[in-house]
Amino acid sequence: MSIVLAGYGLTKKYGSTTALAGVDIEVGERDSLAIMGPSGSGKSTLLHTLAGIIRPDGGQVLLGGERIDRLGENRLSALRRSRFGFVFQSGQLLPELPAEENVALPLMLEGVPRKQAVERARRWFAPLGLDGLERRRPGQLSGGQAQRVAIARALVVAPDVVFADEPTGALDQATSHEVIRLLTSVTREQGAALVMVTHDADMAAHCDRILQVSDGRIGTYDQFTVA
């Protein structure tokens, strides 16, 4: 298994708070990884650091073997746009855009002509069980549907890695399972890796591996690892 994304010796401090205290992490191709841990343990900080949103104080982040933690803001922004996908807890869809345009937006930002972008966006609706909802606006979708649209948007650019931070934090249990199942399976089919932060062990169980984070360090809970 070749490594797509890796972080070595990552540290990050906020004043006197240590959010990351030397984290080593490797994410393989098609790997799916759950990051668990108590609130404030540094899960989000880790995810943001790997995704080039936060610059670490120390350590390196490598994407496909290239260091990305030293890139400028514009390069990083372009990288996030084209090689990463993001799914957040909620509120990431533009409320006045129909679902299909929300999904097409990353493509348009990459310079794909609008017609093509929307066509490619539409292809994602059936596999995610969103058939017929293309023209709905986020306000007309249920929470689970909205998250599935967000998944489509994350995957539409064919990213190397999908980052998800508490993607089911605002959903009920049944819907959560459904969304995570789709997220893991579709990501894998696409050949992308998944890094997901969650505090819910049931959700984490959908992933290949689980990392336990506490006080900015990785614990080893590899007994859950599915080979």
């Binding site: 900080t45 922004s77 990288l79 996030r80 746009r81 957040f88 990431q92 533009l94 306000g139």
Partner: protein, 662 residues
């Protein structure tokens, strides 16, 4: 038990942190601008009334048992009116009280002048101005109590009761004399009508107020809507904590009223501080005495309270909508559609306005009503246009920024309309007033002077002699049917060589005129010219204030949108959306409707002005067109600056990933 609402409000307001503070500062800023503008409008309205009243003493108020003769005459120098009040105490009558601005009733041979006239008397050659007044060793001074403006040119002349200047012949009876020349036996100076030069001031201000009040209200209610998203979250939290909806609304009202009152108080202070500067702005007869523009403490407090109340009402009603819509206003399930009926009503109203306006000869009240109607029509039409515009742009948009802007427009056309409505109206005002420059003084009397005098035949010779002695080359004719004489007997004199020659001729010919003063084209067209000048003053002022209010509105809404949408913007930025795209979308969602609508209203304004001018048989001023272009450039620039003003806010608000993602 004491109500927990106020302490709790205070606590929450303080603990809402920097986000809360930002939107409260914005709201307070809007309240300040709103209060300042309202106070300025009120000051102009009340002040112009006060000013008009202060000119009233110069028009004689007949009293059969009077004690003195008063004659009002008006002469022009350098095209500016000089009001000459001649007073003569009648023998064997009780003494007449002093006129305003003088310490005593003037004795025969005394001449009092306003400071502005004193200066002009020093500056201009005696044969152009000073010789029109009796020769005196030194002039007395009319102080502010007798003047409406520091710029006014007024003289009070004490005369003998037998002086022709106060004789019956001094009474104006001609077509042009209305309000400019009058004579009567009076007993004091408490009656009288405001002068021609000030009597329409207040009505014209009302026109401007009519145009500006709505944008100011829009600004204040936009301030009330600020922080809707934050309040929405707080509402949910408080509900969970067991607060009743009534308590929550009371808290919102208390908080927004306090913020509004604080802002409005700052605006009121700014008004007080600006009073001397405001008084320097000329209107009609000139600049103001500072006191005339002071609205008084009750009005000041009323405006502060009114603005605070407006903001509180707007905040509460926004929250009510939030409370009743489960998804909240920030995330509308359905776009607010606009219907075709708006277009139909708009066309209907415009046709009606055209019909009424083409009847001609409108009173100010009717004009105000029509302008308000026009404004109302646009209030209906604007959102409809914004909606269509959004859909058309949405269909053809190729770039993400344009698409985002287009979708925003059709999502909330009324909101987008409110943002630009002020500037759109300013466009109409700009188009109408700058290109119009209503040359209402339609009759062209030419460079001529008329002398009303009884014996026409000898008068021609006498006039020639007087002019020759004064060294003025002019053509004198007996003017029986001359329009400038307006049916009176007399002579007319064509004076080539410009205003200085005319002023010299007016001075030289005075001995010929008996009780009357010679007059020129300025006299004949004074009332029309006054109206035209007032309109153009009001136009300029309205335009400037419109831009101020509209820019504040646009800037405020842009900032409020950033604050309300911080989460989605923040998450988009995390996912790699360039800030530039979000920023362009923000600019476009304002610029697009503005260009179309302001372009539309501006051309409507130009068209209306053109029609009016055609009716008045005068041509469009080219300098007006240049002014218009300048206005539009300034307006556009102001808008961009206003929106760019919230760019740093967008950057900081979306810059913190932890905040956005939580």
């Amino acid at each position: 038990m004491r109500s927990p609402v106020l302490p709790l409000t205070w606590h929450l307001a303080r603990s809402s942190g920097r986000r809360g503070l930002q939107s409260q500062l914005l709201a307070a800023g809007a309240a300040a601008v709103g209060a300042l503008v309202l106070l300025m409008l009120l000051a102009a309205y009340l002040g112009s009334g006060v000013r008009a009243d202060r000119t009233a003493w110069r028009t004689p108020e007949p009293d059969r048992h009077g004690t003195a003769v008063q004659a009002l005459a008006t002469t022009f120098v350098r095209h500016e009116p000089v009001t000459v009040v001649s007073l003569a105490q009648l023998p064997d009558r009780r003494p007449t009280p002093a006129p305003p601005g003088l310490s005593a009733f003037p004795r025969q041979g005394e001449v009092y002048v306003s400071p502005a006239l004193a200066e002009l008397l020093r500056k201009l050659p005696a044969n152009q101005l000073a010789d029109r007044l009796p020769k005196v060793a030194s002039y007395g001074t009319i102080d502010a109590a007798g003047l409406a403006s520091p710029d006014e040119l007024v003289a009070v002349v004490g005369r003998a009761p037998t002086d022709p200047a106060v004789s019956e012949a001094a009474d104006g009876s001609g077509l042009w004399d209305d309000g400019l020349t009058a004579r009567a036996v009076v007993s004091g100076f408490s009656g009288g009508k405001p002068s021609v030069f000030t009597r329409s001031d207040q009505q014209m201000v009302l026109l401007g107020v009519g145009l500006l009040v709505v944008p100011v209200i829009v600004l204040a209610s936009a301030a009330g809507r600020l922080g809707a998203a934050r309040r929405e979250q707080r509402l949910a939290a408080l509900r969970l904590a067991g607060a009743t909806p009534r308590q929550i609304l009371a808290m919102t009202a208390a908080e927004s009223a306090a913020v509004g009152a604080a802002g409005a108080a700052v605006g009121a202070l700014a008004y007080c501080a600006l009073l001397p500067a405001l008084a320097r702005i000329p209107y009609g007869i000139g600049t103001w005495y500072t006191g005339e523009l002071w609205v008084g403490l009750p009005w000041l407090l009323a405006v502060v309270a009114g603005v605070a109340a407006l903001i509180a009402v707007s905040a509460v009603s926004t929250l009510r909508q939030v409370a009743s819509a489960p998804l909240g206003v920030a995330q509308q399930a359905n776009p607010r559609r606009t219907r075709l009926i708006r277009l139909l009503l708009f066309v209907g109203i415009l046709v009606y306005i055209r019909q009424s306006a083409s009847g001609g000869d409108l009173k100010t009240g009717q004009l105000v009503a029509l302008v308000m109607l026009f404004y109302g029509a646009f209030w209906l039409f604007g959102p409809w246009v914004v909606d269509r515009l959004g859909r058309i742009a949405g269909r053809f948009a190729r770039r993400p920024a344009t698409l985002l802007a287009a979708r925003r427009l059709s999502d909330d056309p009324r909101g987008a309309w409110r943002t630009v409505s002020g500037l759109v109206l300013a466009g109409f005002v700009a188009g109408f007033f700058t290109v119009g420059h209503l040359a209402l003084g339609g009759i062209d009397f030419g460079d001529r002077v008329a002398v009303p005098t009884a014996n026409g035949a000898t008068a021609v010779t006498e006039a020639r002699t007087l002019l020759r002695e004064a060294g003025i080359t002019a053509t004198v004719s007996a003017g029986e049917d001359d329009f400038l004489l307006a049916g009176n007997d007399g002579v007319t004199v064509a004076v080539p060589g410009g205003v200085e020659k005319i002023d010299a001729a007016l001075t030289a010919l005075q001995p010929l005129a008996g009780g009357r003063l010679p007059y020129g084209a300025d006299y004949g067209s004074a009332p029309d010219r006054v109206a035209g000048d007032l309109l153009s003053d009001i136009g300029t002022a309205t335009l400037a204030v419109s831009f101020l209010v509209a820019t504040a509105s646009a800037g405020l809404t842009a900032a409020a949108n950033v604050l309300d949408r911080r989460r989605v913007y923040g998450l988009l930025r995390l996912s790699g959306t360039p800030l530039k795209v979000l920023d362009r979308a923000r600019v476009r969602e304002t610029a697009l409707p503005l260009l179309v609508l302001a372009g539309g209203t501006t051309s409507t304004g130009v068209y209306a002005a053109y029609q009016l001018n055609k009716a008045a048989e005068s041509t469009i001023s080219t300098s007006g067109a240049i002014q218009l272009a300048a206005c539009l450039a300034v307006g556009t620039l102001a808008m961009f600056v206003a929106i760019a003003g919230s760019r740093p806010l967008l950057r900081t608000v979306t810059g913190d990933p932890a905040r956005s993602a939580e």
